[in-house]
Symmetry: D2
Amino acid sequence: GQPLVVIAGLNVLEDLSMAIEVGRHLKAVTADLGLPYVFKASFDKANRSSITSYRGPGLEKGLQMLAAVKAELNVPICTDLHEVDQADPVAAVADIVQIPAFLCRQTDLVVATARATAAAGGLLHVKKGQFLAPWDCRAIVDKIGDATGGKAITILCERGVSFGYNNLVVDMLGIGRMKDLGVPVTIDATHAVQLPGADPRGNSVATGGRREGVPVIARAAVASGADGVFLEFHPDPDRALCDGPSALPISEAAGLLAQLKAIRSAVGGA
Amino acid sequence: GQPLVVIAGLNVLEDLSMAIEVGRHLKAVTADLGLPYVFKASFDKANRSSITSYRGPGLEKGLQMLAAVKAELNVPICTDLHEVDQADPVAAVADIVQIPAFLCRQTDLVVATARATAAAGGLLHVKKGQFLAPWDCRAIVDKIGDATGGKAITILCERGVSFGYNNLVVDMLGIGRMKDLGVPVTIDATHAVQLPGADPRGNSVATGGRREGVPVIARAAVASGADGVFLEFHPDPDRALCDGPSALPISEAAGLLAQLKAIRSAVGGA
Amino acid sequence: GQPLVVIAGLNVLEDLSMAIEVGRHLKAVTADLGLPYVFKASFDKANRSSITSYRGPGLEKGLQMLAAVKAELNVPICTDLHEVDQADPVAAVADIVQIPAFLCRQTDLVVATARATAAAGGLLHVKKGQFLAPWDCRAIVDKIGDATGGKAITILCERGVSFGYNNLVVDMLGIGRMKDLGVPVTIDATHAVQLPGADPRGNSVATGGRREGVPVIARAAVASGADGVFLEFHPDPDRALCDGPSALPISEAAGLLAQLKAIRSAVGGA
Amino acid sequence: GQPLVVIAGLNVLEDLSMAIEVGRHLKAVTADLGLPYVFKASFDKANRSSITSYRGPGLEKGLQMLAAVKAELNVPICTDLHEVDQADPVAAVADIVQIPAFLCRQTDLVVATARATAAAGGLLHVKKGQFLAPWDCRAIVDKIGDATGGKAITILCERGVSFGYNNLVVDMLGIGRMKDLGVPVTIDATHAVQLPGADPRGNSVATGGRREGVPVIARAAVASGADGVFLEFHPDPDRALCDGPSALPISEAAGLLAQLKAIRSAVGGA
């Protein structure tokens, strides 16, 4: 079997030295375990609840930072985009270009990103919308195939589906249904534990203890056949500028990834 | 009380004469009932499942058609957009500019559209995402307020929330929660009955009889306090180029709107 | 069309004088409106969260109280049961015997109650389980038909379906699907607004303002075609021994029922 | 850590020789793996959709069969009950007495079963209702504690929660929340994959391939920290008299249980 792919890094770029620090650590940990590694960080968080929230360095500066991480660490890069105009510049830097979940049905964005990514020799990481069934992803896979002349560049990512209000649930049976579409499937354990719409820093009651859910979802999804795992870390999660409550401390990476490797081995994946 | 507002027309623009025919009929019907009327049609369906589906005339030709409807019928116009660049030209023609449900959390689009719409003296019709709780709309209302210096231009639209796979449900209690945010609330009864992800023309079994649900949702929502109703009609729904299975025949407009007016009267709305 | 049926009274029997007071008031209000009236109260709340909660007077004393209400007011009686052994004594007093939602799939209880009720000339009011789809009720209707030699004694009652955790939602499209089974359908607007699992007296945050949802659900369901409404009142809801937070003050009965009658009239029901 | 507990056997008793055959095989497989084993079979399926479906041998004959299995194989026994009157006779034979999911909120049944089970020195296996949140189980645990003077006899079992219509989902984060109540938690992977309300033998489209989901749910739940697994097997699932479509062939027991043991080892459980 194939080894578990690890797409991991930061929720959003803060400064270059932190990005390199996190990437260097994750590269070392995954190398020890013999797992393929891709560094991930966003340059723009385009759907923050508030207009005044930190969004990241933006396209130009962000891509420069990602290129610097790549040059420094010699690792492939994954980042996400939100507008048609970003497809070419992002595909020039990122090895894996990511479509956000809310945007996975926007034809123009998916088509432009697929074409730019295919032309650059990269892969496309599509987060499944919180409003989609596993089998609904067939339309997305077909759309990318139609746009690229049938190139097999799609990876689907499960990140939870709407379950009542202000909650998501990961349906572990869905991972197999997504793999049935003929593509690799990853689990975004970080966003799957987020409580949508509830401010994790506010006084909403339901947000306690979700960070501890990240390893649970990751382990369960690998046990269910996921081919890769998507995880966000931070050197000091409680001071992260975005989504700190679901970020794992970087110190937990080695232990968790070793567990995931052992589970994948138990289910015959590697 | 205020009379029920009617935003109604076509799912997507096909040809100008059909748009005028539908708008003329709806203008006459609403005038008879004493209800305010806004003509609605989309110029681009940007999230069709398939890359080969009909999407509409596009921005330029579509706005020309909408301006022609406005000139011919002297009615306000509602249409939706999908990209930041479309905000100014759309706000120049449309009296009510609509943000699609999947895009309601995209900060750049919401902000650009709010500013363009406020500058043009229009209103903003924001479809609530299928992944949002009613109270989550507060962040959207605040974002628009922040972007426009506090102008009260927002109308929220309920169109159903994810309920398991390939289904939506309208929570009638949510209409009041959205009104609690201090904005008018409409019901999009047409999209609320759609079965997401399932092809309504295919052999999926769950799609029968949904068109008959449109009047049910509209009646229930008005009984629950909705201030307006959003409805899509077609002269011949089974030949519509998009979303025909949820479109009502134009011949049913008068009867349904009369019922809705009577219900609103029963609940003290007018 | 048929007039709207009103099944209304107390959540649980407390003392006889209160039951008669509530029943007398509701009888007068419904008589003024020309609506058929059935007095409802439970003798035992068999699934309270805590073992120490008030459950009611029990079978023997409760049936005596219900018989006294019937004798005093000359109205039909509706009450619910929980065990096979209760079927005969309950059917001897109640004109409408009710199966609780959690128990609607228990074959022995449904069959025994159906037979006892049919033998006594009564009707069966089956609450749809929170875990059932509207069309799943066909099996229940068939089971009752099989048990009674095909007697048409079944009324189905919608009281909400599980929607995430600690929440229910009423799918207004489901009312029509239940009526498609050939039976009358009522809406239990009182239980539909309860937040399951959350203690309405505790410090759980989600419970505020639900009582105000009762009229909303009732109005929406009648607008959607419900044939009857099930409502619980109390002279002083905040002092009710069970489920006070969802009980309406008896003083609100006249206004709400007049509204419901007007809505039913608007949709062609009477 | 503790080894994974295996509660496994037949959905419903058919004949004694099959019960012994299945129990003998599972005893041997679990002994090889060093896992504690409990034989499970029901004597009555009390909530079949149809009145004419096979329900099992009934209380008296069923308990005789279970006692014979226990005598023949020298294994503890798990079976479920549905009425207060069954508590004493069932607790006299079963080492683990099970409360069905639909009945987990029925106070009289839970209390009578808890008392009979505690008196007989057994344990109580409570299936979490499809309509409950993980934390709602606190009320059940407390109720059992109140009924037994605080005896720690409760095991909670996750079997999926309502997710839209005719579907369940297992929330892997819920397993930890149930363990937080201070009790062991098992996963019923067999019932968790059932599609409620849809006839698995009929022409409903959604039922394909669910049996293959049983190992997925079992693996994911053990990776998420479940202390035990509940599984139903059959020598020839396609000829099973009840719930064959979710039963695993007995020949798959050894491979699956070895995998589950390896996953538990990977997550530190044994």
